[in-house]
């Protein structure tokens, strides 16, 4: 597969002085297809016409709305070549051991691409480049889903602005063994990026995609409005993992994810959140044909005054569909988490099997975990369960480890890490698991 590194001029445009008054990406590039330009214009109008989240909105219940702000950001600026070289070295030096392809974006610009384990038939191309060179390949799936779980204004903004991130398309029967890794760096005070990940797995194909979100320099005020859109056709398999390891002050992260699983398709989604002052995850998982299966996991480690706000939907829209969700939050200091999950069994989706669990481990009296599990069943012969628990580490577990000679602090750490590990180990790929776990451990060491 040939790879072209797109120049910055093609993927980003000059930042508008007051970008809330004008689309963040202009139509300066006339080579972009007409359908895309009108889609983008419509999205911008929707963004302008959608009110900002308000306190009365159920979809934002428990959220501290002071975090939600659209003003004061401008599209991230291109980086100096020396910075780019450092980032490439950093991304290459710190990645899971096994990978089929590795792409690095910094401030929306592609700065590195290699595809050592990618089959010839698999298409892995930056979104911006796909729009320029083979727009019809992406048209059917790109930015087609607008409904999220309260974050529609962010979704519209994303649609109006995105031109970075990767389009991964697997033709029928194509199997990619190792993950496709995509780094997204953001840097510069007030910088915003809009990374998009579109994965299309056609019949019986299989792929794993791993997005990493990192700050170029921790501490800067940055905003990411990311979207991952996953489409698995008949028997297709997708694993999508996202690691948010941004600087834990200043950075804000919004990630909207949508899954459409067809007949006998299976999709696994995993979120690991370690950084950022505030995050909002919305995960919409639709099982639209019989035999579809979705599994959604999250491992979140929050400390300081971080707020992690996650909303999920498991939508069963056909018979004999299955889903399982496990979200784990470990909270320290005065951090807050919000989990709102809904299992929806649509009319006629008989024989649905669906589970949802949120577990919170409270490492401090001042931490706050909010859970809102929900069920709506409109079909027969359905097996569903949902539940949420919050608790501290049990004294008996600590005693057991100490009775083997492990000091108290180490025992606490092992149990907390084990708690998060339970979600991470649900993902496929040992190298990926090890990588994620090492990052969790690194953050834990910083908490002390």
């Amino acid at each position: 597969m040939s790879m072209v590194l797109t120049s910055p001029e093609e993927t980003t445009s000059r930042p508008a002085a007051d970008w809330c008054e004008a689309p963040p990406v202009t139509d300066a590039d006339a080579k972009l297809p007409e359908w895309y330009r009108s889609l983008r214009a419509e999205a911008w109008e929707r963004f302008r016409g959608t009110p900002a989240p308000a306190r009365t909105n159920q979809a934002w219940r428990f959220a501290d709305l002071k975090h939600v702000r659209f003003e004061g950001y401008a599209p991230a600026l291109p980086l100096a070549e020396s910075v780019v070289a450092d980032l490439v070295a950093r991304a290459v030096g710190e990645r899971p051991a096994d990978y089929a392809a590795h792409f690095v974006f910094a401030n929306s610009r592609l700065i590195h691409a290699e595809t050592p384990g990618l089959p010839e038939a698999a298409l892995c191309l930056p979104v911006g480049e796909t729009l320029l060179t083979q727009p019809e390949r992406i048209r059917g799936h790109f930015l087609q889903h607008e409904d999220f779980l309260g974050g529609e204004k962010f979704a519209s903004l994303h649609a109006a602005a995105t031109l970075s991130g990767l389009f991964v398309c697997l033709p029928k029967g194509c199997v990619v063994t190792h993950p496709v890794i995509v780094h997204h760096f953001v840097g510069g005070d007030g910088a915003v990026i809009f990374p998009h990940t579109l994965v299309v797995a056609e019949d019986q194909s299989s792929v794993s995609v791993f997005d990493l979100f990192e700050s170029i320099t921790p501490g800067e005020e940055t905003l990411i409005v990311a979207m991952a859109d996953l489409h698995a056709d008949h028997g297709g398999r997708i694993q999508y993992a996202a690691l948010q390891d941004l600087g834990d002050t200043g950075a804000k992260h919004v990630q909207l994810q949508h899954t459409r699983a067809g007949r006998d398709a299976s999709v696994k989604v995993g979120f690991v959140n370690l950084g950022s002052g505030w995050i909002r995850n919305e995960s919409v998982n639709r099982m639209v044909e019989s035999g579809a299966d979705c599994q959604i996991f999250a491992a979140n480690l929050a400390n300081g005054v971080q707020e992690y706000d996650q909303r999920t939907l498991q939508s069963h829209e056909a018979q004999h569909t299955t889903s399982d969700l496990l979200f784990k939050n470990a909270l320290y200091d005065r951090s807050r988490t919000i989990f709102s999950g809904l299992i929806q069994v649509q009319p006629g989706a008989h024989h649905t099997d669906s589970y949802q669990t949120c577990r919170n481990l409270l490492g401090s009296d001042e931490a706050e975990a909010n859970s809102m599990p929900g069920l709506e069943i409109d079909a027969d012969q359905v097996k569903c369960s949902h539940g949420s628990t919050s608790g501290t580490i049990s004294d008996e577990e600590i005693f057991y480890l100490r009775a083997r000679g492990i000091p108290s602090e180490d025992a606490r750490k092992m149990i907390s890490l084990g708690f998060l590990h339970e979600a991470i180990e649900k993902l496929d790929g040992e190298a990926l698991q090890d990588f994620l776990f090492a990052r969790v451990e690194k953050k834990f060491a910083a908490i002390g």
Partner: protein, 252 residues
């Protein structure tokens, strides 16, 4: 220097309620002692008190491991000093694999800056698991999670074999074991018997003592040792029950 696990006039209570009321016994290095006694006599309390569980308050008496005063040590320090308790109800630790758990326990015994040799560690662990008839899959599974009763007890013995304590207390290790598992566990313990190690086996039934033959049998009743004898005492208790001893005046 005294080479024994020595308990003298031990009084301990839980929630203000005295359970151990002046318990004394000594397990010299190289010997296996058994403690038998009816339900509620204080058998499990004794094991928790030696291990240092904070729900139990020692109000009087002493516990020495060789010349180390155990009561002055924290729970983890007691373990590192060479004490081991095989739990009656081993706890489950979700997300922490058996291998990592054992490795951390071994690591805790090394001087600062030294690391467990991973290759040697796994080789040793596998050999000991083979000895206990444990499948290799247990290394990667969370500690005791989803283990059957017998698997948990084998796992306790595996930990004991890996940590090589000077003195070990086995708290009703036979409960919940079928006869085959019991034999394997007993083989594991017997393989560890040595002039350098003492065992105290707490049990409700004489059955275990058919496989781990004790040097001395103590009878615990109402928080005190009321009778001490040879291994034949276990059979006598099995046959006659405890009444004939408990109704005698307590032995000094």
């Amino acid at each position: 220097m005294s080479q024994s696990l020595r308990i003298e006039n031990l009084h301990a209570s839980v929630d203000g309620h005295e359970i151990l009321k002046g318990l004394s016994l000594e397990v010299p290095k190289g010997e296996v002692h058994a403690i038998m006694g009816p339900n509620g006599s204080g058998k499990s309390t004794l094991s928790k008190v030696i291990a240092g569980h904070e729900d139990y308050v020692v109000t009087e008496g002493s516990i020495y491991l060789d010349d180390v005063n155990l009561l002055e040590l924290e729970v983890d320090e007691r373990s590192r000093a060479g004490f081991f308790l095989a739990f009656q109800y081993p706890h489950e630790i979700p997300g922490v694999t058996n291998a990592n758990f054992l490795r951390a326990a071994r690591q805790a015994r090394l001087p600062k800056g030294e690391e467990v040799d991973a290759v040697a560690f796994y080789r040793e662990m596998y050999a000991k698991m083979d000895q206990l008839g444990m499948d290799r899959k247990f290394t990667g599974r969370s500690v005791n999670e989803g283990f059957s009763g017998g698997e948990k007890k084998r796992n306790e013995i595996l930990q004991m074999m890996m940590l090589e304590p000077k003195y070990a207390v086995l708290d009703e290790t036979d409960s919940g074991l079928d006869i085959d598992a019991l034999k394997i566990v007993a083989q594991g313990v017997n393989a560890m018997r040595s002039p350098e190690r003492g065992f105290l086996i707490i049990t409700h039934y004489q059955r275990l003592l058919d496989y781990i033959v004790p040097d001395v049998v103590h009878v615990l009743h109402d928080g005190r040792i009321i009778h001490t004898g040879g291994k034949e005492l276990a059979y006598e208790l099995e046959e006659k029950g405890y009444d004939w001893i408990t109704k005698e005046p307590a032995a000094a």
